[in-house]
Amino acid sequence: MGLRWWAQPLLWGAVFGLGVLLLPVADSLPFLTRANLVVFALHGIAAMGLTLVMGFAGQVSLGHAAFYGVGAYASALLTAKTGWHPLPAAAAGAAIAAILAALLGRIVFRLRGHFLAMATLAFGLVFYVVVRSWDSLTGGNQGTGGIPDLTLGPLRFDDDTRMYLLAWAVLVLGLVAARNLLHSRPGRALLAVGRSEVAAASVGIDVARTKMVVFALGAVYASIAGSLYAHYVTYVSPESFGLLPSLRFLVISTVGGIDSVWGAPLGSAAVVLLTEGTRELVPRFVSGATGSYEIVAYGLALVLVLLFLPRGLAGGLAEAVQRAAEALGRRRRPAPALEEVEAR
């Protein structure tokens, strides 16, 4: 991108600072807590992986929470049962998630069409069933507890605020990594595959392999978020990794906008507000409402955003900024290069 060498760290520092400012904001809003902020950051990280898969492999995954679960259970079991340090445990989880995704991708991406949606749906449900019924390893429905707090040298992440700051830092790092990747040679191959598979194949890009790699990368993002989650709640059970969380990641990515790495944090913030708002409002109109009825709002949000704001919040925001800039009569550049449009 056209930024000077010193502007990059400045930009990312500013983004991180913006996230820190959310702490007092959350305290002053009645239906938000600092715990919501942790959820926002963790889901933002996981959904960023899904954004890469949808935006650049052109495929939708309905089992993304399984990879989140792989990371969470790897961290939980390796630290609580075998006493590993959290960092190698998280790395092991990420490696397992990447391998599983690569295997699944190898099967599915040989086929044309949209088989990944159903294959990942099945994969997610199988993961859920396995975790629930493999009592001796995972603790079954009871789950696994006793996960130690995450420590990095002298730092101990044992409350909402510290965990949020860590998760937000990881999210910003994830943004930097995704952005830099998209500006590298493999990243340009990804953008090409995302735009036209036929054209990409014609210039010698292995489309199936490229998709497989981005799918594995997306799984790594989810796994890292899952590891952080395990240390945050210090207890994991299957419910956190079933179909509903997978759908939630899908809503975050889509509402945020899948053709931009900024979509995931925007979408995650929107979904936190949507979830809290629905839980606040629905019981007032429907007495005795139980279960995860916030999925009504998820479904409506998916449909409305795709119909009226197909590039999501990030795309809508980018257009609004551009229009404002044009209205001011000073466009910064003649025309943005293709990759910049894609990566924005």
Binding site: M54, A122, L250, T254, I295, V296, L302, V303
Partner: protein, 290 residues
């Protein structure tokens, strides 16, 4: 041997339901290119509506027919309100839209019907019948009879009516069909309505067997999709056969191995077919829709 027959008999009944859902996947996928995630949710709507209408005191026949109409309407609305306005978007967007429809419908069902399963009595009361040493419930016979009737009706529709042939043409080549003045948007509407109606039928014949619950859409949808893939995802009749195979495989795994297998079988079958024979086990029937 009689044990084996017993498992097959119960598997065939479930399998017919999977097949009916699979039919809808095939019709929509071939006519529009969309894998409709909400397919199992039409079944859920049909089943739950049937229970509620029956509880209001409506006689069985109009209650069941009305429930099927409600399911078909849900398909019609899916197409007109969501798919048609977005038809110029990518297939990826259209598939995510169907996911949105599915979870919105599931959430509404949760608010309307709650989390408890809803029950419905069998169409004809009485003890199970014994056929060749296997006990077959009367409702299973209803399921099989209705499935056969639907298969015949679909065959007639796709072979003998202009609309049916137009949909087939659209499935074979959308651009060529358009040159023959066939409107793909109209065909999409028919495909969604027909697929939802068939799923609604499956829902109302199924509800006396398993009772109805708000989140049955996803598991039944996934098994219907597996049935469709088994049949190669090209022929409604392949999907019906695929459904029967899947139902029997599931019943045998549950009977001989463990009931914990029930969920796993469909997924294992789906993975195996996608790896080994993505064109489906029944590739021979792919040439034509009948």
């Amino acid at each position: 041997m009689s044990e084996f027959l017993q498992f097959v008999a119960s598997g065939v009944g479930q399998g017919a339901i999977y097949g009916l859902i699979g039919v809808g996947f095939v019709i929509i996928y071939n006519v529009t290119g969309i894998i409709n995630f909400a397919q199992g949710h039409y079944l859920m709507l049909g089943a739950l509506t049937a229970v509620t209408l029956r509880e209001t005191g409506l006689p069985a026949v109009p209650a069941l027919l009305l429930a099927i109409v409600v399911a078909a309407l849900a398909g019609l609305i899916t197409d007109r309100a969501v798919i048609n306005p977005a038809r110029r978007h990518s297939t990826l967007t259209l598939i995510i839209l169907t996911v949105g429809v599915a979870i919105a419908v599931e959430g509404l069902a949760l608010l309307v019907w709650g989390v408890n399963p809803q029950r419905y009595p069998p169409f004809t009361a009485g003890p199970p019948l014994f056929l060749g040493g296997a006990a077959v419930s009367r409702q299973t016979l209803w399921v099989l009879g209705v499935t056969l009737a639907i298969a015949l009706a679909l065959w007639w529709f796709f072979q003998r009516t202009v609309v049916g042939k137009a949909m087939q043409a659209c499935a074979m080549n959308r651009d060529a069909a358009r040159l023959q003045a066939i409107d793909p948007a109209q065909m999409s509407l028919y495909a969604f309505t027909l697929a939802a109606a068939v799923a609604g039928v499956a829902g109302v014949v199924l509800v006396p067997i398993t009772s109805a619950y708000y989140d049955m859409g996803v598991p039944f949808g996934l098994k219907g999709f597996t049935a469709a893939v088994l049949g190669g995802l090209v022929s409604p009749f392949g999907a019906l056969l695929g459904g029967l195979l899947l139902g029997v495989a599931e019943a045998l795994a549950v009977g001989y191995v463990s009931s914990a297998m029930a969920e796993g079988v469909a997924f294992a079958v789906l993975a195996l077919v996608l790896v080994a024979r993505p064109e489906g086990l029944l590739a021979q029937v792919r040439a034509r829709w009948a």
